[in-house]
Amino acid sequence: MSAAPVLEIRDLKTWFRTDRGVARAVDGVSFEVLPGETLGVVGESGCGKSVTALSVLGLVPKPPGIHAGGQILFEGADLARLGERELEDIRGDRISMIFQEPMTSLNPVFTVGDQIAESVVRHRGVSRGEAMGVAVDMLQKVGIPSPESRVRDYPHQMSGGMRQRVMIAMALACRPTLLVADEPTTALDVTIQAQILELLAQLQRDLHMSVLLITHDLGVVEEVCDRVVVMYAGKVVERATVDDLFDRPLHPYTAGLFRSVPRATGTRAARLEVIPGVVPSPLDFPTGCRFRNRCPAARGPCAEGEPPLVEGAAGHQVACHYPEGTR
């Protein structure tokens, strides 16, 4: 894995001004996405994973958002420093995105063909006729039956699974280098989710594209990701390959998450282990380690310095003074 990363995020800070102070939603996040890989960013509500994705896409509304520091390096440019026009040139072309709820991301008054063709015309400068041809090809690629006629359908004429396929067709029409997928299957039923995950994996291989997958679902992460970043309270707490993370989690938060998920396979736990308490507010993080109030391993030093992200094992980083297995 010596190839240069497609995307490199360095110490990114995206904050929000609120009436009650500054919410440090993303507070010093670093990771990279390598060519052709799927990197998962996983965490619970409010951990900053979606804001990280929106920051990469330049879609954080400012105000109230503030770019409080750090770089987002993509193809030699720092996206955090680009203007809206330059970002529009990149978005939908070399970086594309899909979101959780396709209905709110599709325009109800245009046909799906128009919406796919729009970005092809915008970024490729081809005629509308040619772009509609691309739209039909894309609908076929994402497995929509009789694409020549469905291209004239409106979003409401399609099921949720079909709409998510259309979203994927739109996102991939210009063959992006990087796809940012924010909870792409969360709103779907499990059998439809299986279809969409399979489709994404196949398209990723065909197009040799990198995927930044934002999700709360550890099962999805385990199945589709190559490497994983675990976020908690605006910080990266652990970063590893999927095998290392699932076989030997080092951060007490990651380990606690794994133990609190009821599994559909394997042995059934008599009682679920619990992470006590709740996620801290981004307006008021604890001093030192942000997880310490909920952590079974916390000791004196945890209240003092914020633990840096360091190599806990080969290729496996953790931000904890007392990682699992060292106590």
Binding site: D189, V190, G219, V242, G256, P262, A264, T265, L272, V274
Partner: protein
């Protein structure tokens, strides 16, 4: 409807027989009935005292409608629901009010199901006051007792819902359901909206309350891991019918209906990228419950479907000999034979 096994494990608290709910679709100026959504189309099951029955299925399968008809939040089209021997669907209003004390529901979204202008004490105590069970300081004492029972503190009683986190709000929803001392609670996606660390807290709370108070749950959910953890038995619904039901571990280990098997295999997790694919990916979407497919409703997506599945009557439910495992598929036999156990499906 099938013959259920004679040896039920616990005395039945609730027995639902042939439950049907068709919602009329009205169209045009005169609002003529143009068709029906066959949300629930002949569902039968039993829930024993102190037991949890999981009811799973995908969007539109009718599982939520089943839960709501039991509480008469929706009136059923046909069928019976015997609760401690009395049919909830034919009880006169006064007796139904009485029965409601024993039957409660917890909803998915604790925020939208709590009145933002009422304090926790008011929300939790409302039913006690309405039923004339307690008032004044006695009411407050009883409310405090359930508040503590669900893991909140007495100081929370005079606060409003917006002051609580999602997990705490779900505890308030549980306290409200517990206030009247119910014996049966419908949990309708009760933990689905919660983050996993909070979800585990609420699941444990529901289990503790069950052990302590002898509650029965109908646990309606789409999250199969959660259902497996909490349920003694699981029933799988597809397009308004139960396609399979069994003891939880039996169902997860040995699914006989092709739909159950595909549903279980679709759950993500436990496999890594590049591992051999054993997943069954079902083609297509769930058909509309307005025009369910003829024959077996599952046949358009079933890899094992043959001519008799595509036409003719809906398959009879077969119960395995010496077991309570039942499935509605033409090719499931009393000996535990199933199409999913044979050769891989054609194509």
């Amino acid at each position: 409807m099938s013959a259920l096994p004679a040896a039920a494990p616990a005395p039945d608290l609730l027995e639902v027989q042939g439950l049907v709910k068709h919602f009329p679709i009205r169209r045009g100026l005169l609002m003529r009935v143009a068709g029906h959504v066959r949300a629930v189309d002949g569902v039968s099951f039993r829930v024993g005292a102190g037991e949890t029955l999981g009811l799973v299925g995908e969007s539109g399968c009718g599982k939520t409608t089943v839960g709501r008809t039991l509480l008469r939040l929706i009136d059923p089209t046909a069928g019976a629901a015997l609760f401690e021997g009395r049919d909830l669907f034919t009880l006169p209003p006064a007796q139904m009010r009485e029965a409601r004390r024993a039957l409660q529901i917890i909803f998915q979204d604790p925020y939208s199901s709590l009145n933002p202008r009422r304090t926790v004490a008011q929300t939790v105590g409302e039913a006690l006051a309405t039923h004339g069970i307690a008032r004044g300081s006695e009411l407050r004492d009883r409310v405090e007792k359930v508040i503590v029972q669900v893991g909140l503190q007495p100081l929370h009683m005079d606060r409003y819902p917006h002051e609580f986190s999602g997990g705490q709000r779900q505890r308030i929803g549980i306290a409200r359901a517990l206030a009247l001392g119910p014996r049966f609670i419908v949990c309708d996606e009760a933990v689905s909206a919660l983050d996993v660390s909070i979800q585990a807290q609420i699941i444990n709370l529901l289990e503790e309350l069950q052990a302590e108070l002898g509650l029965s749950y109908l646990f309606i959910a789409h999250g199969l891991g959660v259902v497996r953890h909490i349920s003694k038995r699981v029933a799988v619904m597809y397009l308004g019918r139960i396609v399979e039901e069994a003891e939880t571990e039996e169902l997860f280990r040995n699914p006989l209906h092709p739909y159950t098997r595909a549903l279980l295999s679709a759950i993500p997790g436990g496999r890594r990228k590049g591992a051999a694919r054993t997943r069954i990916v079902l083609p297509g979407d769930v058909p509309s419950p307005i025009h369910p497919p003829p024959g077996c409703h599952f046949h358009p997506r079933c890899a094992y479907a043959r001519a008799e599945c595509r036409a003719g009557p809906y398959p009879e439910t077969v119960t395995l000999r010496g077991s309570s495992h039942r499935a509605a598929c033409h090719f499931v036999t009393e000996d535990g034979g199933s199409p999913v156990l044979g050769d891989p499906p054609p194509g």
